[in-house]
Symmetry: C2
């Protein structure tokens, strides 16, 4: 039923049934009202997605969790400028129905102190300030949003004795926009670490030390560029480094006036509460292998209207559901089970997807083939993607079959690879969308795709349908293209007789990581065992590709041959689990993946092997031999992870 | 090829090809010399087993590890009796080639002090002594071996300030025999916790704190009953409780004489060293499902000649190999892969099997169907067994097909169940044979079978072929019966189209545990969530049994039907993994199983739910609400484990 010839036909039909018109109408419906997680308007989007799936004839589930969310109750910020005038700084965009700007999980508090510009709030920025003779302890930091998470900015400020943090985002347009966001450390419901926040489940106490360490101790807020400028333009920043000046906000340069420095009085009142959230799932049962899962996911909750973030992705998901229902009318059933998932409360820390992964950990750990994430499907022009490396080749193949929405006659692949001949694929070690729990906790091979990046209305009240229709994707062709890519990835993974995974690509990536690590360590610690393990992994990868080739060419479908195919696919599926370590990353043991995951040191030169990255940072504070010992031990853990992945690829007991 | 009819024929042939003659000859060959792990004579047994497997035509592997073992260099013990005489206490059985009596991993040391009889060395024994006004701190304890591990006896002595421990075993015969044994805490190579001690692997330093906590800090030794009597008969034990008097060693009763109490001078010199050990494996590849593993295992290393422990089991394993090779000549190939494993260094702490489980954790975790252990196959009359509960029914079925070796016309099942109508099956939470890593670290459903128990030559130099031929199993019929049971269990698990697992039995067992826990807690902590999770697990168990019945009756063998069978079997196989918790037991996190595993409190009334057992003990030292909180949290962890197992049985994502 899913023979090669039919599969090709279904794929062609999937592509030809793309529709920018329907995807636009879904987006309009989803973005009529702001729909922050845990609020009433959010339930409307649950019902909308649910009935869309149901009306198309899919088995549909709504899964409820009760998670600790955080909302603003009150905020005020006044500045006493050097000239003596007192200014009330605006803390709202004044858009009806949109939650006031805030940082979710910021504590309530009042802070009074001198305003200091701390650039991105990195360690090196505080070192620069110290060298300039600026004391930040007791002050209120004004920082601009850089590459690393808000929670880290606040934590570093806290560590430097800062009393409150105001975080603005550089932007040329939309200078009244405030970038909301979470400052929680880690992901998932903070009261149920490691297990699902289902009805009646255990919940940690709010003052449990494991809970408290997830939240900052000082209050923080987002600022608009406009609001930040009121403060920063009043400061004496004559002596800050030139790099600090490439901000879109005007910095003051006059020496501090007769009134002295600028004093800020900042108050924030938060409400933490257990709120109800819902994931919505559509299930298309696999015909031959219903117990193998290909999972597509996108979050539904938004800080405001969510036209870009995340409902451009939701619209694409709903359109794929529509296309899949047409395929079913043509007689298609996937070989493996397909799930279309609409997650809730991503903005608070990937809560909906994380709780679901925790709830299903045994079945996902042994039966999930891949997770395909789309968050902001369209932010602007240009294709971007992230993946665990065994899926690189598939991304190339699939993008070569989809027309570029902006360049006539070219495929997405052509345009994507035009600049440097290869498609740049990010890795999935960050905590910035719903793939995090799948990759970093469950070891499920994953992909993330999107169009455009760095859009100006990010997390503001101005992320509306109108913005999308005016700037992001006026013709909705990019939405259609993301849908085609996402749908085709899912079809390939659900229908291919042999899973379209290449671990040689993974081996090469690991080898490249080893080489960079080698440069960083500069011979101070041996990488012999790491090289050996990568070599072993690569051999296993090459061997299984040969086996896969033989099986693809095989024509017989005896019971023995069917089981051979299944066994090979299981090895391909399970190899990623080998990278998980049961003990997890030191200091944040929930994260089990030793190649991709969050390091504590966000400024590390290593963007992978997070345990090694942290060991290198820690080693700086130790004597040489102790430091090398800590690094060596973390390298050993990675060596064993790679060896486990190789063993899973080989599939045999030694 | 392995259709139902043929399977029955193969099973009948397996039974009819039993041979007490061959099994006796294997035992004689294996027990010609003492073969302590890591010593040269031990390599001879490696070669013997290896060539046996090879000669039968099986794919055979020898797998090497380098593990930290421990050997005695010197020991002496002198007593100054109350009458003033000084006696050299014999510390050897004087049998050529047998290692001198010792406790593996006891530290070297000299202790001088008053001898005190501490009964079994339990907490309650020390409390009794304290109530009698006896100070044990600074003394040398003479203890008799009770139910709990040597390492615990020594640890409790250490905690009470004792300077050295002499441990004898009650016995009516063989009163010159010394019971050797290990005093390591935990299992596996102490230098590679969590990973395999393969060539070139990371090894912790001997003074790493994680290594040090595995070893006692005070020296200890086994004593023969004869040697113990020299000391104990000299002591004033007039006031010890009557229960302490049911020892086979004569206790002194006269008040301490003119010379005062008995003083002991005890010296022990140990050598810890990294030694080479070998597991030997024979692999019989499955025809349809080569990637599903049924594993039979027995250890090969012995403290002395090992006729009972463990080579009665090795002889049975070799005889099963012989029988399987005959089956192969009849055309048999198992449906699933069968492994026959001969483990090394079990006596030091299940080291060979544990290292292998650590090495193969990813493949075992996802693909091992069951582990079938036999340690001392024959210790005397009477059938005994242990199992994870989903295998209870299979044990009943299989024993009903094997003739009782001692009772004509009866089956093993008949005799086994004659006393109380049911066959008593132990559970596998202890650390006393090679199933420990399989069950408690990897969550593999397991069985352990043996004939007889409590044999007098246990771990002594007198565990010889002659003892077996004279007392243990003169006709070797019990060996043949164990072989038949073990082989038939393996055949059923390897060949049955639907795995012969019953989780209803597991659910009932959990329910019984809940009821006992309820009695212990007496309403102080709610068990509502535990009851709910067991109920959910039981429903899932009943549902899958219905599904299994339908599939067994189904006659078609389409691709879809084949995959249905595989999917059902996978659910049955993986449900046990649900009981694993990634964080493991507090204080010994390597142990991941929350139903069966070692509790720190060996005197707990709970012989399962080790985390709850420990929480109950700890709660004694806390105020009421704090104590209840700790217990409640451990109950929650068990609830989630049972819920995970239920989810694995259901096999669907929620
Ligand atoms: Ca949770
Ligand atoms: Ca080890
Ligand atoms: Zn988003
Ligand atoms: Zn967002
Ligand atoms: Zn044994
Ligand atoms: Zn033993």
């Amino acid at each position: 039923t899913s023979s090669l010839r039919n599969s090709v036909r279904y794929r062609q039909f999937l592509l030809s049934s793309a529709s920018n018109y329907t995807v636009a109408s879904y987006l309009r419906s989803l973005t009529l009202h702001p729909h922050l997680a845990g609020t009433e308007p959010s339930s409307e989007t649950v019902r909308y997605v649910e009935s869309h799936f149901r009306d198309l004839g899919f088995e549909t589930h709504s899964i409820r969790y009760d998670a600790l969310l955080s909302y603003p109750k009150y905020a005020s910020l006044t500045a006493r400028l050097p000239n003596g005038s007192v200014v009330q700084i605006p803390l709202s965009e004044n858009v009806e129905g949109v939650v006031n700007p805030y940082h979710a999980y910021s504590p309530s508090g009042t802070a009074y102190g001198v305003a200091v510009f701390v650039n991105y709030g990195r360690d090196e920025d505080y070192r620069t300030l110290a060298a300039m003779g600026v004391t930040v302890a007791g002050c209120i930091a004004v920082a601009r949003k850089g590459e690393f998470p808000r929670s880290v900015v606040v934590a570093k400020a806290e560590a430097n004795g800062v009393k409150g943090v105001l975080l603005y985002t550089d932007s040329d347009g939309y200078r009244q926009g405030f970038e909301r966001g979470t400052v929680m450390r880690g992901i998932g419901d903070p009261l149920s670490p490691g297990w699902a926040a289902i009805d009646g489940a255990e919940r940690l106490n709010l003052n449990d030390s494991e809970v408290l360490r997830k939240f900052p101790k000082i209050p923080s807020m987002p600022l608009s560029a406009e609001a930040a400028e009121i403060i920063l333009s009043s400061l004496d920043t004559a002596s800050v480094p030139p790099e600090w000046r490439d901000t879109t906000v005007k910095l003051g340069t006059a020496a501090v006036g007769p009134g002295g420095p600028t004093y800020l009085n900042f108050t924030y009142q938060a409400e933490k509460k257990i709120a109800t959230i819902h994931n919505v799932l559509a299930v298309i049962k696999g015909l031959e292998e219903p117990d193998r899962f290909v999972i597509m996911g996108n979050h539904r909750d938004a800080w405001s209207f969510g036209a870009v973030d995340p409902n451009s992705g939701t619209a694409a998901l709903l359109d794929i559901a529509r296309r899949f229902s047409l395929l079913r009318k043509l007689g298609w059933s996937p070989r493996r089970t397909l799930l279309l998932c609409s997650w809730d409360a991503e903005e608070f820390g990937m809560i909906g997807s994380t709780e679901w992964v925790e709830q299903n950990i045994v079945n996902l750990g042994t039966k999930a083939v891949a997770y395909l994430n789309v968050d902001c499907a369209v932010q602007g022009p240009g294709f971007f993607s992230g993946a665990t490396p065994q899926l690189d080749d598939l991304l190339h193949e699939v993008t070569a079959q989809v027309e570029d929405p902006d360049v006539k006659g070219a495929t997405v692949y052509d345009t994507w690879t035009a600049t440097n001949g290869i498609g740049n694929i990010e890795r999935l070690g960050a905590l910035n969308s719903d793939f995090a729990a799948f990759v970093q906790h469950a070891g499920v091979p994953s992909i993330d795709v999107y169009y455009g990046r760095d859009f100006p209305v990010y997390h503001t009240a101005f992320d509306t349908y109108d913005w999308m229709a005016s700037y992001g994707d006026p013709l909705f062709h990019r939405h259609a293209a993301v849908g085609s890519i996402w749908g085709l990835l899912a079809l390939r993974l659900a229908d291919d007789l042999i899973l379209p995974f290449s671990y040689v690509s993974y081996a090469n990536q690991l080898q490249a990581y080893r080489d960079i690590l080698n440069d960083i360590l500069d011979g101070s610690v041996s990488l012999q065992s790491l090289s050996t393990s990568i070599h072993e992994f690569k051999s296993a990868a090459e061997e299984i590709e040969k086996e896969a080739k033989r099986l693809r060419e095989q024509e017989t479908f005896t019971a023995v041959a069917l089981f051979q195919t299944r066994a090979l696919n299981d090895r391909l599926m399970l190899a990623e689990r080998g990278f998980l370590d049961v003990d997890g990353l030191r200091g944040h043991t929930w994260f089990k993946h030793l190649v991709y995951g969050p390091s504590s040191d966000y400024e590390s030169a290593l963007a992978y092997f997070p345990g090694i990255a942290d060991a290198i940072s820690e080693s700086m504070k130790m004597n040489q031999s102790e430091g090398q010992g800590v690094i060596q031990h973390e390298i050993w853990r990675v060596v064993r992870a790679i060896t486990r992945a190789a063993a899973a690829l080989k599939g045999e007991l030694s």
